[in-house]
């Protein structure tokens, strides 16, 4: 017993130390600096809650919150619908389903810079050309250059990339469902829809919960897709909160102010994740 304990300690202590040094300590430092006027270098003073009050008064932060939530909710819903459909398809007895699984997982492996490059090309050259050929006026301009439509472009890319990971999770869930249930249902005369709503969906409920929570959290922190596609533009129409924090904090010398913004955002994400978990968990139990 004693020996076992020491083995555990040897494994956990370094991990714990690394976690504290590289994660907890910087996080606490960030919270500390959010009460100062530090620019990232030089002298600083305590300013109390001024940074927090300024965040609440900042119209630009407000716009970023609105955009991020609009984006995250739409993307979460789309990702979960599409990846569930893809997973069911891949789980059925089709030819090459292993190869197909590998192909569907590819977008997740590709670097976002490459993805951004490809989609920039599609939006800037490929789609407008199609629009020209068929005379579809709405397609002849790059949608990333239109402040009302640019977010849709980002949703398309983000969803395209995120579907693969969620599909894997749903597949893992679908594998746990026994074939017998479907056979029994067939004998009772259940159709495809009934099978899905009465068997498949309830039984993968835990996977649905985790997918919803994870994707909402990931989409709320959207950053790289935006950098690769629009850089927050046109105007400020696609500026997400992470991008605002990065831009203002590192390029704009507002380190302390954006630390306050980051702390607020951290709390918002935790609150949302907890609410979501509570709500969805309850659903699971009922079934």
């Amino acid at each position: 017993m004693k020996k076992k304990n020491s083995v555990f300690l040897i494994i956990t202590i370094p991990a714990f130390l690394l976690f504290v040094i590289f994660h907890s300590f910087p996080a606490l430092q960030g919270i500390f600096y959010s009460f100062t006027d530090w620019k990232g270098y030089g002298d600083w003073n305590f300013v109390g809650l001024k940074n927090y009050l300024n965040v609440f008064k900042d119209e630009r932060a407000g716009d970023a919150y609105l955009f991020t939530f609009k984006f995250a909710i739409v993307a979460t819903i789309l990702v979960n619908i599409i990846s569930l459909l893809v997973a069911i398809g891949l789980n059925s007895k089709i030819k090459f389903h292993k190869t197909l699984r590998a192909i569907y997982f590819l977008p997740y492996i590709l670097s976002i810079l490459i993805v951004g490059f490809i989609f920039n090309f599609i939006f800037a050259h490929f789609l407008p050309q199609i629009g020209d050929v068929f005379g579809w006026e709405f397609l002849t301009r790059n949608i990333l250059g239109n402040p009302d439509l640019a977010w849709i472009g980002i949703v398309i890319v983000a969803v395209w990339q995120a579907v693969s990971f969620n599909t894997i999770l749903y597949l893992a869930g679908l594998v746990t469902i026994s074939e017998d249930l479907y056979e029994a249902a067939s004998i009772d005369g259940a159709g495809v829809w009934t099978k899905f709503w009465k068997i498949t969906f309830p039984l993968i409920a835990p996977f649905f919960t985790i997918n919803m929570v994870l994707s909402l959290k990931n989409f709320l922190m959207v950053f790289d897709q935006i950098v690769a596609l629009t850089g927050g533009g046109p105007g400020k129409s696609t500026e997400s909160i992470s991008l605002l924090i990065y831009r203002g904090g590192f390029e704009g010398g507002e380190f302390a102010y954006q630390s306050a913004n980051a702390v607020i955002y951290f709390i918002v994400i935790i609150v949302f994740s907890v609410i979501q978990l509570k709500f969805l968990n309850k659903r699971e139990v009922e079934n």
């Binding site: 370094p14 270098y41 030089g42 301009r141 250059g145 046109p234 203002g248 704009g252 010398g253």
Partner: protein, 410 residues
């Protein structure tokens, strides 16, 4: 067990010593090693050549060139660690201003080296530091310029002449548009490209001291930038059909392929355009912003300045390198290779492409980039981009004012 622990500790200390090894030190053979920090990836090859020359002349000094990506962020983090490079080759922008105010750079004011620089550029960088700290903390070295680039073949085809007033400029844009061609190729998907026209207009219409006055609360965008905003709106009418959807790289290629007559860019775009179409004949002229020709200046900024760390242990050697760089022959070599302009008096860019703006450098009718003096956090280029889409002038100017003040109050 213990063996493994020691191995672990060894690995950790090894890692630590590797990290510590990054800070520069003297070589064992009595040579002094200087660190030259540069923020431009474009000039690495040029610097390598110059360093070789310098090392041949000064056998006991070695120079280590460091040009990392995200250079300004790197420099700011090194500032927090009190670990500045011996010599810095950075741009004359807000970061220089911050370093100057932080009091970590050698003051060159009144030195012989500073006297070789055109006074207007010394002025320009002094204003970046602001009134809080007296001094010239860098030597302006290479400069850039905002210009209107034009396609000479198309220019002749449309029978145009280089315009010298705003009305003539608009008339030629109109003529091209009426002939069914695209006058200007805008690349406004990249917000910063909108600032080329904005800076040319702002510097000449609203005046050079706008930022100082704005900081003192004596003026505002609403008061001074009305005409600038109007003229920006006029210019975008002469673009192509997807002004907001094309990015800088695509724009260079499109202009090189002859898709428009004019292109609003700086000298830095010319090598890129020529790369896409080496046979293209290009010309440049300063954007004529008003109808009073004496008021139209060329917008030019300090692209590279040399600064020396105040606390470096090898100040004498660092100064030697600065002297070498400021020497007319070296300066000429630098601007020839980089297609830039020199801040040093008597050193001129002779490339025929720049014929149209050469006179401005010779007689000093230049002015600086207004946005270098804006607070870094306000994100002016995205606001301008938004304005060019939504075209609500009053709201936009008010927003520029309020964003500026908001950043100031933080």
């Amino acid at each position: 067990m213990i063996k493994k622990m020691t191995a672990g500790v060894m690995a950790l200390t090894l890692g630590a010593s590797l990290l510590a090894g990054c800070s520069s030190g003297d070589a064992d053979d009595g040579k002094v090693t200087l660190e030259l920090f540069s923020n431009k990836s474009e000039s690495i090859e040029t610097y390598k050549g110059l360093i070789k020359e310098f090392e041949a002349e000064n056998p006991d000094i070695k120079i280590k060139l460091d040009a990392p990506p995200e250079a300004e962020t790197v420099l700011k983090t090194r500032l927090t660690k009190n670990d500045l490079p011996d010599i810095m080759s950075i741009a004359g922008n807000a970061t220089y201003g911050e370093l100057g105010r932080a009091g970590v750079l050698e003051d060159f004011s009144g030195t012989d080296l500073a006297k070789t620089v055109q006074p207007s550029y010394i002025d320009m960088i002094n204003r970046l530091v602001g009134p809080e700290e007296e001094g010239t903390f860098g030597l302006p070295y290479a400069t850039n310029a905002n210009a209107v680039i034009y396609n000479k073949a198309k220019f002749e085809e449309h029978g145009l002449e280089v315009p010298t007033t705003w009305d003539e400029f608009i008339a030629s844009l109109y003529k091209v548009k009426a002939a069914g061609d695209t006058p200007i190729y805008f690349t406004l998907k990249d917000a910063w490209t909108g600032m080329i026209a904005w800076n040319s207009l702002g510097a000449n219409v609203a005046g050079e001291d706008f930022a100082e006055k704005k900081n003192a609360g004596e003026t505002s965008f609403t008061d001074q930038y009305d005409e600038v905003a109007d003229k920006m709106e006029t210019l975008v009418q002469y673009g192509h059909k997807d002004n907001m959807g094309v990015a800088y790289g695509d724009g260079n290629n499109a202009f090189a392929a002859g898709k428009s007559v004019f292109y609003l860019q700086g000298n830095w775009a010319i090598p890129e355009i020529l790369k896409a179409n080496p046979d293209m004949e290009l010309g440049v002229f300063p954007m004529p912003v008003t109808n009073d020709t004496s008021q139209n200046k060329l917008v030019s900024g300090v692209d590279v300045l040399l600064a020396v760390s105040k606390d470096t242990e090898h100040k004498e050697e660092a100064m030697k390198f600065a002297e070498f760089m400021m020497n007319n022959d070296t300066a000429q070599k630098y601007i020839d290779e980089q297609k830039a302009f020199s801040a040093i008096e008597g050193v001129y860019q002779e490339d025929p492409v720049f014929e149209g703006i050469k006179a401005n450098f010779e007689n000093g009718t230049i002015t600086s980039f207004p946005d270098h003096y804006y607070p870094a956090g306000m994100g002016a280029e995205n606001l301008v981009q938004e304005f060019l889409i939504k075209k609500d002038k009053e709201k936009f100017l008010k927003k520029m004012d309020s964003e500026w003040e908001k950043v100031q109050n933080r």
